[in-house]
Protein backbone atom coordinates (compact mmCIF):
# COMPACT_ATOMS: atom_id res chain seq x y z
CA UNK A 1 0.00 0.00 0.00
CA UNK A 2 2.62 2.44 1.12
CA UNK A 3 4.94 1.36 -1.72
CA UNK A 4 2.34 1.86 -4.43
CA UNK A 5 1.60 5.31 -3.04
CA UNK A 6 5.31 6.13 -3.23
CA UNK A 7 5.53 4.89 -6.82
CA UNK A 8 2.55 7.01 -7.84
CA UNK A 9 4.11 9.99 -6.11
CA UNK A 10 7.42 9.49 -7.92
CA UNK A 11 5.65 9.05 -11.28
CA UNK A 12 3.67 12.24 -10.73
CA UNK A 13 6.84 14.06 -9.77
CA UNK A 14 8.64 12.75 -12.88
CA UNK A 15 5.81 13.91 -15.12
CA UNK A 16 5.83 17.29 -13.45
CA UNK A 17 9.59 17.65 -13.89
CA UNK A 18 9.39 16.49 -17.49
CA UNK A 19 6.82 19.17 -18.15
CA UNK A 20 9.20 21.82 -16.88
CA UNK A 21 12.35 20.58 -18.56
CA UNK A 22 10.89 19.71 -21.95
CA UNK A 23 10.55 23.38 -22.73
CA UNK A 24 13.97 24.32 -21.39
CA UNK A 25 16.40 25.86 -23.83
CA UNK A 26 20.00 26.64 -23.03
CA UNK A 27 21.15 30.19 -23.46
CA UNK A 28 23.43 30.48 -26.45
CA UNK A 29 24.92 33.86 -25.58
CA UNK A 30 26.15 35.39 -22.35
CA UNK A 31 23.91 38.08 -20.99
CA UNK A 32 25.20 41.62 -20.59
CA UNK A 33 26.65 41.32 -17.08
CA UNK A 34 28.28 37.97 -17.78
CA UNK A 35 29.80 39.26 -21.01
CA UNK A 36 31.21 42.25 -19.15
CA UNK A 37 32.78 40.04 -16.46
CA UNK A 38 34.12 37.64 -19.03
CA UNK A 39 35.85 40.22 -21.18
CA UNK A 40 37.04 42.73 -18.57
CA UNK A 41 37.92 40.47 -15.66
CA UNK A 42 41.52 39.56 -16.69
CA UNK A 43 42.53 43.21 -17.00
CA UNK A 44 40.57 44.50 -14.00
CA UNK A 45 41.00 41.76 -11.39
CA UNK A 46 43.67 39.53 -12.92
CA UNK A 47 42.43 36.20 -11.56
CA UNK A 48 42.55 33.06 -13.71
CA UNK A 49 39.30 31.87 -12.14
CA UNK A 50 36.53 34.29 -13.12
CA UNK A 51 34.14 33.02 -10.46
CA UNK A 52 36.64 33.91 -7.73
CA UNK A 53 37.01 37.42 -9.10
CA UNK A 54 33.23 37.85 -9.07
CA UNK A 55 32.83 36.44 -5.56
CA UNK A 56 35.69 38.37 -4.00
CA UNK A 57 35.90 41.61 -5.95
CA UNK A 58 32.76 42.44 -7.92
CA UNK A 59 30.39 40.99 -5.31
CA UNK A 60 32.70 41.28 -2.32
CA UNK A 61 30.09 42.89 -0.10
CA UNK A 62 27.74 39.91 -0.57
CA UNK A 63 30.55 37.55 0.48
CA UNK A 64 31.08 39.63 3.61
CA UNK A 65 27.38 39.17 4.33
CA UNK A 66 27.61 35.39 3.80
CA UNK A 67 30.51 35.13 6.22
CA UNK A 68 28.48 37.11 8.73
CA UNK A 69 25.54 34.71 8.33
CA UNK A 70 27.84 31.76 9.02
CA UNK A 71 29.26 33.57 12.03
CA UNK A 72 25.76 34.12 13.41
CA UNK A 73 24.92 30.44 12.89
CA UNK A 74 28.02 29.42 14.83
CA UNK A 75 27.18 31.84 17.58
CA UNK A 76 23.64 30.50 17.94
CA UNK A 77 24.75 26.86 17.88
CA UNK A 78 27.35 27.63 20.52
CA UNK A 79 24.67 29.38 22.57
CA UNK A 80 22.22 26.45 22.41
CA UNK A 81 24.77 23.68 22.93
CA UNK A 82 26.70 25.34 25.73
CA UNK A 83 28.10 22.63 27.96
CA UNK A 84 31.25 21.89 29.90
CA UNK A 85 33.47 19.15 28.48
CA UNK A 86 34.18 16.15 30.68
CA UNK A 87 36.57 13.37 29.98
CA UNK A 88 35.04 9.95 29.50
CA UNK A 89 37.22 6.91 29.09
CA UNK A 90 35.22 3.84 28.13
CA UNK A 91 37.54 1.08 27.03
CA UNK A 92 34.77 -0.78 25.24
CA UNK A 93 34.28 2.01 22.73
CA UNK A 94 37.92 2.92 22.31
CA UNK A 95 38.85 3.77 18.73
CA UNK A 96 40.99 1.26 16.89
CA UNK A 97 44.68 1.98 17.04
CA UNK A 98 44.97 1.98 13.26
CA UNK A 99 42.53 4.88 12.91
CA UNK A 100 44.18 6.77 15.75
CA UNK A 101 47.61 6.55 14.16
CA UNK A 102 46.30 7.20 10.67
CA UNK A 103 44.45 10.31 11.82
CA UNK A 104 47.65 11.74 13.30
CA UNK A 105 49.16 11.76 9.81
CA UNK A 106 45.99 12.56 7.89
CA UNK A 107 44.78 15.51 9.99
CA UNK A 108 47.80 17.78 9.31
CA UNK A 109 47.68 16.61 5.71
CA UNK A 110 44.05 17.55 5.18
CA UNK A 111 44.62 20.83 7.02
CA UNK A 112 47.32 21.64 4.49
CA UNK A 113 45.02 20.54 1.68
CA UNK A 114 42.44 23.05 2.93
CA UNK A 115 45.07 25.78 2.99
CA UNK A 116 46.12 24.81 -0.55
CA UNK A 117 42.53 25.18 -1.73
CA UNK A 118 42.02 28.69 -0.41
CA UNK A 119 45.48 29.97 -1.30
CA UNK A 120 44.94 28.81 -4.89
CA UNK A 121 41.38 30.10 -4.95
CA UNK A 122 42.12 32.45 -7.85
CA UNK A 123 43.68 29.67 -9.98
CA UNK A 124 41.79 26.44 -9.31
CA UNK A 125 38.18 25.59 -8.46
CA UNK A 126 37.23 26.18 -4.87
CA UNK A 127 38.22 28.98 -2.57
CA UNK A 128 37.65 30.27 0.90
CA UNK A 129 34.41 28.50 1.72
CA UNK A 130 35.48 25.16 0.24
CA UNK A 131 38.90 25.30 1.90
CA UNK A 132 37.22 26.16 5.19
CA UNK A 133 34.95 23.15 4.82
CA UNK A 134 37.95 20.87 4.23
CA UNK A 135 39.59 22.27 7.39
CA UNK A 136 36.33 21.56 9.23
CA UNK A 137 36.37 17.97 8.00
CA UNK A 138 39.97 17.64 9.23
CA UNK A 139 38.69 18.60 12.70
CA UNK A 140 35.87 16.03 12.29
CA UNK A 141 38.51 13.37 11.61
CA UNK A 142 40.51 14.51 14.64
CA UNK A 143 37.47 14.17 16.90
CA UNK A 144 36.43 10.84 15.34
CA UNK A 145 39.83 9.38 16.13
CA UNK A 146 39.78 10.64 19.70
CA UNK A 147 36.40 11.93 20.95
CA UNK A 148 37.91 13.00 24.27
CA UNK A 149 40.32 15.38 22.61
CA UNK A 150 39.80 18.97 23.73
CA UNK A 151 40.20 21.44 20.89
CA UNK A 152 41.00 24.88 22.24
CA UNK A 153 38.08 27.29 21.90
CA UNK A 154 40.38 30.21 22.58
CA UNK A 155 42.60 29.50 19.59
CA UNK A 156 39.63 29.13 17.28
CA UNK A 157 38.00 32.32 18.51
CA UNK A 158 41.31 34.12 18.06
CA UNK A 159 41.77 32.91 14.47
CA UNK A 160 38.16 33.66 13.63
CA UNK A 161 38.06 37.20 15.00
CA UNK A 162 41.53 38.15 13.73
CA UNK A 163 40.85 37.03 10.18
CA UNK A 164 37.46 38.76 10.21
CA UNK A 165 39.13 41.95 11.38
CA UNK A 166 41.80 41.84 8.67
CA UNK A 167 39.17 41.06 6.03
CA UNK A 168 37.38 44.30 6.83
CA UNK A 169 40.70 46.21 7.11
CA UNK A 170 41.67 45.11 3.58
CA UNK A 171 38.25 46.18 2.38
CA UNK A 172 38.70 49.66 3.86
CA UNK A 173 42.25 49.86 2.45
CA UNK A 174 40.71 49.24 -0.96
CA UNK A 175 38.35 52.13 -0.32
CA UNK A 176 41.29 54.44 0.50
CA UNK A 177 43.99 53.34 -1.96
CA UNK A 178 42.06 51.89 -4.94
CA UNK A 179 38.61 52.27 -6.43
CA UNK A 180 36.21 51.07 -3.75
CA UNK A 181 35.40 48.80 -0.84
CA UNK A 182 37.20 45.41 -1.19
CA UNK A 183 38.91 46.49 -4.43
CA UNK A 184 41.76 44.05 -5.06
CA UNK A 185 44.07 46.54 -6.78
CA UNK A 186 45.80 47.66 -3.59
CA UNK A 187 48.62 45.31 -4.69
CA UNK A 188 49.99 44.97 -8.24
CA UNK A 189 48.00 42.51 -10.35
CA UNK A 190 50.99 40.40 -11.39
CA UNK A 191 51.16 37.77 -14.09
CA UNK A 192 47.92 35.93 -14.87
CA UNK A 193 48.03 32.37 -13.60
CA UNK A 194 50.86 32.50 -11.04
CA UNK A 195 50.40 32.08 -7.29
CA UNK A 196 51.11 35.72 -6.45
CA UNK A 197 48.75 37.50 -8.80
CA UNK A 198 45.31 39.10 -8.86
CA UNK A 199 46.23 41.73 -6.28
CA UNK A 200 44.65 41.18 -2.90
CA UNK A 201 42.38 38.26 -3.93
CA UNK A 202 44.60 35.46 -2.49
CA UNK A 203 44.96 37.41 0.76
CA UNK A 204 41.23 38.11 1.07
CA UNK A 205 40.36 34.50 0.24
CA UNK A 206 42.87 33.25 2.80
CA UNK A 207 41.19 35.31 5.50
CA UNK A 208 37.75 34.08 4.40
CA UNK A 209 39.08 30.50 4.43
CA UNK A 210 40.56 30.82 7.91
CA UNK A 211 37.38 32.42 9.21
CA UNK A 212 35.08 29.79 7.69
CA UNK A 213 37.37 26.96 8.81
CA UNK A 214 37.45 28.23 12.38
CA UNK A 215 33.66 28.67 12.40
CA UNK A 216 32.91 25.16 11.09
CA UNK A 217 35.46 23.65 13.47
CA UNK A 218 33.75 25.54 16.28
CA UNK A 219 30.35 24.05 15.37
CA UNK A 220 31.79 20.52 15.22
CA UNK A 221 33.60 20.99 18.49
CA UNK A 222 30.50 22.32 20.24
CA UNK A 223 28.40 19.37 19.08
CA UNK A 224 31.09 16.91 20.16
CA UNK A 225 31.35 18.41 23.64
CA UNK A 226 27.59 18.38 24.14
CA UNK A 227 27.41 14.72 23.17
CA UNK A 228 30.18 13.84 25.58
CA UNK A 229 28.17 15.14 28.50
CA UNK A 230 24.94 13.58 27.23
CA UNK A 231 26.40 10.07 27.19
CA UNK A 232 26.84 10.00 30.97
Amino acid sequence: MRNSFLIILIAAFAWFMYDIFSEYQTQEQLNKTAAYYNSNEPSEAGAANVVTAIVVTYRGLDTLGEVTVLFLATLIIGFILKNKAEKIIDSKYKTSEILETGAKVLVPGSLILGVYIFINGHLTPGGGFQGGAVIGSAIVLLLLADPNKIVSHKLMNFIESTSGFFYVVIGILGLIIAGGFLDNRIFPLGKLGSLISAGAIPLIYSFIGLKVGAEISGIVNNINETELTDKL
Binding site: S96, I98, L99, G102, V105, L106
Partner: protein, 121 residues
Protein backbone atom coordinates in the same frame (compact mmCIF):
# COMPACT_ATOMS: atom_id res chain seq x y z
CA UNK B 1 56.25 9.20 -27.05
CA UNK B 2 53.46 7.22 -28.72
CA UNK B 3 54.68 3.92 -27.31
CA UNK B 4 54.67 5.36 -23.78
CA UNK B 5 51.11 6.59 -24.22
CA UNK B 6 49.92 3.20 -25.41
CA UNK B 7 51.67 1.46 -22.49
CA UNK B 8 50.00 3.91 -20.09
CA UNK B 9 46.58 3.44 -21.66
CA UNK B 10 46.96 -0.35 -21.42
CA UNK B 11 47.76 -0.02 -17.70
CA UNK B 12 44.61 2.04 -17.27
CA UNK B 13 42.69 -0.73 -19.03
CA UNK B 14 44.21 -3.32 -16.66
CA UNK B 15 43.16 -1.17 -13.72
CA UNK B 16 39.59 -0.96 -14.95
CA UNK B 17 39.48 -4.73 -15.52
CA UNK B 18 40.66 -5.25 -11.93
CA UNK B 19 37.77 -3.08 -10.78
CA UNK B 20 35.40 -5.17 -12.90
CA UNK B 21 36.67 -8.35 -11.24
CA UNK B 22 36.20 -6.71 -7.84
CA UNK B 23 32.61 -5.97 -8.74
CA UNK B 24 32.03 -9.62 -9.69
CA UNK B 25 33.77 -10.70 -6.49
CA UNK B 26 31.43 -8.58 -4.39
CA UNK B 27 28.58 -10.77 -5.67
CA UNK B 28 30.31 -14.15 -5.54
CA UNK B 29 31.79 -14.07 -2.04
CA UNK B 30 29.63 -15.57 0.70
CA UNK B 31 29.93 -13.07 3.58
CA UNK B 32 30.88 -9.47 4.35
CA UNK B 33 34.42 -10.31 5.49
CA UNK B 34 35.32 -12.02 2.24
CA UNK B 35 33.60 -9.31 0.27
CA UNK B 36 35.65 -6.58 1.86
CA UNK B 37 38.81 -8.60 1.22
CA UNK B 38 38.08 -8.43 -2.48
CA UNK B 39 36.66 -4.92 -2.43
CA UNK B 40 39.52 -3.20 -0.61
CA UNK B 41 42.38 -4.97 -2.37
CA UNK B 42 41.00 -4.76 -5.86
CA UNK B 43 39.78 -1.16 -5.68
CA UNK B 44 43.07 0.09 -4.22
CA UNK B 45 44.94 -1.88 -6.84
CA UNK B 46 42.75 -0.50 -9.59
CA UNK B 47 43.48 3.09 -8.56
CA UNK B 48 47.21 2.33 -8.33
CA UNK B 49 47.28 0.86 -11.83
CA UNK B 50 45.20 3.68 -13.29
CA UNK B 51 47.42 6.37 -11.74
CA UNK B 52 50.65 4.69 -12.88
CA UNK B 53 49.19 4.49 -16.36
CA UNK B 54 48.38 8.20 -16.30
CA UNK B 55 51.93 8.99 -15.18
CA UNK B 56 53.08 7.35 -18.41
CA UNK B 57 50.59 9.33 -20.47
CA UNK B 58 51.12 12.76 -18.86
CA UNK B 59 54.50 12.83 -17.05
CA UNK B 60 54.14 16.56 -16.31
CA UNK B 61 51.26 15.87 -13.88
CA UNK B 62 53.36 13.34 -11.98
CA UNK B 63 52.89 14.95 -8.56
CA UNK B 64 49.10 14.94 -8.57
CA UNK B 65 48.70 11.34 -9.72
CA UNK B 66 51.33 10.13 -7.29
CA UNK B 67 49.68 11.93 -4.36
CA UNK B 68 46.27 10.46 -5.14
CA UNK B 69 47.85 7.00 -5.33
CA UNK B 70 49.58 7.32 -1.97
CA UNK B 71 46.45 8.81 -0.43
CA UNK B 72 44.29 5.87 -1.52
CA UNK B 73 46.90 3.37 -0.36
CA UNK B 74 46.94 5.02 3.07
CA UNK B 75 43.24 5.64 3.64
CA UNK B 76 41.42 2.72 2.05
CA UNK B 77 42.80 0.02 4.39
CA UNK B 78 42.12 2.26 7.40
CA UNK B 79 38.47 2.87 6.56
CA UNK B 80 37.86 -0.81 5.76
CA UNK B 81 39.48 -1.76 9.04
CA UNK B 82 37.26 0.62 11.03
CA UNK B 83 34.18 -0.73 9.25
CA UNK B 84 34.99 -4.41 9.76
CA UNK B 85 35.99 -3.95 13.38
CA UNK B 86 32.67 -2.28 14.11
CA UNK B 87 30.72 -4.96 12.22
CA UNK B 88 32.48 -7.78 14.04
CA UNK B 89 31.74 -6.13 17.36
CA UNK B 90 28.10 -5.78 16.38
CA UNK B 91 27.97 -9.45 15.35
CA UNK B 92 28.02 -9.51 11.57
CA UNK B 93 27.55 -13.21 10.68
CA UNK B 94 30.48 -15.20 9.31
CA UNK B 95 29.81 -17.60 6.46
CA UNK B 96 29.32 -21.30 7.15
CA UNK B 97 32.68 -22.06 5.51
CA UNK B 98 34.55 -20.29 8.31
CA UNK B 99 36.86 -22.57 10.23
CA UNK B 100 38.15 -20.46 13.12
CA UNK B 101 37.39 -17.16 14.92
CA UNK B 102 40.10 -16.28 17.40
CA UNK B 103 38.88 -12.73 17.94
CA UNK B 104 35.46 -13.80 19.19
CA UNK B 105 37.00 -16.43 21.46
CA UNK B 106 39.35 -13.89 22.98
CA UNK B 107 36.59 -11.35 23.45
CA UNK B 108 34.43 -13.92 25.23
CA UNK B 109 37.38 -14.89 27.43
CA UNK B 110 37.92 -11.25 28.34
CA UNK B 111 34.26 -10.81 29.18
CA UNK B 112 34.35 -13.92 31.38
CA UNK B 113 37.41 -12.66 33.25
CA UNK B 114 35.72 -9.33 33.88
CA UNK B 115 32.60 -11.03 35.23
CA UNK B 116 34.69 -13.24 37.51
CA UNK B 117 36.47 -10.23 38.93
CA UNK B 118 33.17 -8.52 39.59
CA UNK B 119 31.89 -11.71 41.24
CA UNK B 120 34.72 -11.90 43.75
CA UNK B 121 34.12 -8.35 44.88
Amino acid sequence: MDILQIIGASMVLIGSLVLLIASIGLHRMPDAYNRIQVGTKASTMSVVFVMIGFIFILPSWFGKFFTIMLFVMLTNPISSNVLMRASHKKGEPLSSKTVIDNLKEDEEKEELNKNNENGTF
